[in-house]
């Protein structure tokens, strides 16, 4: 038995201590997890197969947003203009021997590695060439505007007729929610968080010993009084079959 209990304020401090430690641990863990995509973006920036390209996203070079910290601020309710400008990688003696055929310009928005939205511009009569320019207009699905907020990775890539990736580059956009926090997903998450926080702070009640409640029907005079209050008919032993239709008093006229 502890005699040195010093009141509810001290107990509150003792309970809040782990909460503060937990938030600190999570804040330390979050940047370390978020540092990985920036490194992976830098690795995938290089040209894959003999071409080099630059892509502008509403006039800005996507190489300016290789990490979540430098993401472009966008509103998914609007549409975006992308321009893919590509050229063959020239060697010391000139253009590389086999000219590439760029058949498809693709933009994909990723979440947990899965594509939320993909936009393709396919060239119908693609021929091998030393360079080219492809224009793309991307209008995200309206459901994404209502649903999402936060930082998302987009992948701009150029594909050949076989579907192989000739070049790709990742960049990040910071999606603004309607009315700052009006997207559906963060609102649902905040509500779940508040509910679970309430459950956590009241979890001590689980240890409360059960109170000895008075036995129901201990007073025989209470039962008829309760039944009379609701106006329900007395239970019958027969005729409780749910198959039997109820008979209306008086019958149909």
């Amino acid at each position: 038995m502890r005699n040195g209990r010093s009141g509810p304020q001290s107990q509150g401090r003792r309970v809040l201590g782990p909460v503060v430690v937990a938030l600190g641990l999570l804040l330390l863990a979050v940047p370390s997890a978020g540092a990985s995509p920036a490194a992976s973006a830098r690795l995938t920036t290089a040209s894959l197969s003999g071409i080099t390209a630059t892509v502008t996203f509403n006039g800005k070079d996507i190489s300016q947003a290789p990490a979540p910290s430098s993401a472009f601020s966008v509103n998914l309710a609007s549409s975006f203009d992308l321009i893919y400008t590509w050229s063959s990688v020239s060697t010391g003696s000139g253009v590389s021997a086999s000219l590439p055929t760029v058949n498809d310009a693709r933009l994909a928005m990723l979440f947990f590695g899965f594509s939320l939205s993909t936009r393709d511009v396919i060239l119908s009569n693609a021929v091998p060439s030393v360079g080219g320019r492809i224009y793309m207009n991307w209008s995200p699905p309206s459901v994404l505007h209502v649903l999402l907020a936060g930082t998302y990775e987009l992948t701009a890539s150029l594909l050949d007729p076989n579907g192989s990736t000739l070049w790709s580059q990742n960049f990040y956009v910071d999606v603004a929610a309607p009315f700052t926090i009006g997207a559906v997903l963060p609102v649902i998450l905040v509500l779940i968080g508040v509910y679970e926080l309430y459950g956590l702070l009241t979890s001590g009640r689980q240890a409360r010993p059960p109170k000895t409640a008075p036995k129901p029907w201990s007073d025989p005079s209470a039962a008829p009084a309760a039944g009379a209050g609701t106006g329900s008919p007395p239970p019958t032993t027969g005729g409780d079959d749910p198959e039997d239709p109820p008979t209306a008093p008086g019958g149909p006229s």
Binding site: V15, A33, G34, S36, F111, E196, G204, R205, P209
Partner: protein, 68 residues
Amino acid sequence: MSATSSGAGCGLVLGLVFALLAQQFGLLSLSQLSVGLEALIVGAVVGLLVGALIGWRLGARELARSRP
């Protein structure tokens, strides 16, 4: 259910919610599957442990309060 397990369950969900909210507020990118799973697992484990600790402390306090 004990106070510790109740707190652990709530803490686990809170850890997951915290990681997803961090992404929604632009503090974290979950675009890659490996990074997303890593963040969710870290959030869930930390939340579970801290939630269990908080539940245990609150349960002990409740028991001490209810003793005559």
